[in-house]
């Protein structure tokens, strides 16, 4: 029985930070090996180790919080700060790509024809699939809020339904975007337009997949009664992340798809 006089969580020793660091090392050096020697072994090993680390570390956090009760109110507050700081760092990450886009598009060089979009680029119509994608993500923002209120009000069935709908909308966005990528009349190699378009929307798509995965884990946990009506921070973190993904898309849509077309 723990006899601490404070409400904080002094975590037990864990191997996952070390395996995570080793995974980072293998992935980065593996990336260099792949680029120079066409061998994917080291990078794949790093990726597998990363996935194992994430699975086991977060599983342990769930065990510590939900099953052992270590996540007291002060501990939860710390987790909230952590998630907010992480999302803030991701905002800065995307800010960089928006900076790159505006740098190239506000003062297009002679090589591009002195105009934006550059000569030879047929842009996507912002009022076709991109507009549908916008509606899909906005709707998913509504459904995730519906899920949150369902949890707070103790409504299990509605919580599961609305969370499932949110995830399905996320998959729909990903599928639509994948189709757009396949059908697009330009590629990443098509000058700075292609670079800025695919890197910015590509990282966004990756974040949609990450966010959908996070929500899916929450759905599994909700189905297994992990969340209570007052304490469901894992879900709140996933919802915050999902809203962040939605906001990034809105900026992408306005800047690259609409203004940039």
């Amino acid at each position: 029985m723990a006899h601490q006089a404070h409400a904080y969580h002094m975590v037990d020793p864990s191997p996952w930070p070390l395996t995570g660091a080793v995974a980072a090392l293998l992935m980065t050096s593996g990336l260099a090996i792949w680029m120079h020697f066409h061998n994917m072994t080291l990078m794949s090993l790093g990726l597998i180790l990363l996935l194992l680390t994430m699975y086991q570390w977060w599983r342990d956090i769930i065990r510590e919080g939900t099953f052992q009760g270590h996540h007291t109110p002060p501990v939860q507050k710390g987790l909230r700060y952590g998630m907010i700081l992480f999302i803030t760092s991701e905002v800065f990450f995307f800010l960089g790509f928006f900076w790159a886009f505006y740098h190239s598009s506000l003062a297009p060089t002679p090589e591009l024809g002195g105009c934006w979009p550059p000569i030879g680029i047929t842009t996507l119509n912002p009022f076709e699939v991109p507009l549908l994608n916008t509606a899909v993500l906005l709707a998913s923002g509504v459904t995730v809020t519906w899920a949150h209120h369902s949890i707070m009000e103790g409504q299990r069935k509605q919580a599961i339904q609305s969370l499932t709908l949110t995830i399905l909308l996320g998959f729909y966005f990903t599928a639509l975007q994948a189709m757009e990528y396949y059908e697009a009349p330009f590629t990443i190699a098509d000058g700075v337009y292609g670079s800025t378009f695919f890197v910015a929307t590509g990282f966004h798509g990756l974040h949609v997949i990450i966010g959908s995965t996070f929500l899916a884990v929450c759905l599994l946990r909700q189905a297994q009664y992990h969340f209570t009506s007052d304490h469901h921070f894992g879900f709140e973190a996933a919802a915050w992340y999902w809203h962040f993904v939605d906001v990034v898309w809105l900026f992408l849509y306005i800047s690259i798809y609409w203004w940039g077309s």
């Binding site: 029985m1 723990a2 006899h3 601490q4 006089a5 404070h6 409400a7 969580h9 099953f67 052992q68 009760g69 270590h70 996540h71 007291t72 109110p73 002060p74 949890i151 009000e153 103790g154 409504q155 299990r156 069935k157 919580a159 599961i160 599994l220 189905a223 297994q224 009664y225 969340f227 209570t228 009506s229 007052d230 304490h231």
Partner: protein
């Protein structure tokens, strides 16, 4: 493994919920009829102990800001402790950058060596 979990928990429940029938009775009796447990029903470990104590107006794990006392002889600062002595840091005046540290022992109230505020150690037990 995650796929097995999903198959195990979702389809049967979804079918039950869609059908509106309970193919088998709810495994847990929920005070909250909606089906999501409350902290009262499900919180465990240290989280449960802190929540139960706060409900009774107690704060054994020092989560809340300490109560304000004037620090006079008749209204000394009450310092809870699980042992028979505790370190006290006196911020004699607001905005002071030098904290006055001293051990507070059980028994007679002691005074801060700098500003003279009174402090009294009060024993308390941790909930088990």
């Amino acid at each position: 493994m995650a796929a097995r979990l999903l198959l195990r928990t979702c389809p049967l429940r979804v079918l039950q919920l869609r059908g509106g029938t309970a193919a088998r009775p709810l495994q847990r009796a929920m005070a909250s009829a909606g089906g999501i447990p409350t902290d009262e029903e499900q919180a465990t470990g240290l989280e449960r102990r802190t929540l139960q104590a706060l409900k009774q107006g107690k704060d054994p794990y020092s989560i809340l800001k300490p109560k304000q006392y004037t620090g006079t002889k008749t209204d000394p600062h009450i310092v809870p402790s699980i042992g028979n002595k505790r370190l006290v840091g006196c911020l004699c005046e607001e905005d002071n950058t030098a904290i006055v540290w001293f051990w507070l022992h059980e028994g007679e109230p002691q005074r801060c060596p700098e500003c003279g505020s009174h402090y009294k150690l009060v024993h308390h037990e941790l909930p088990h």
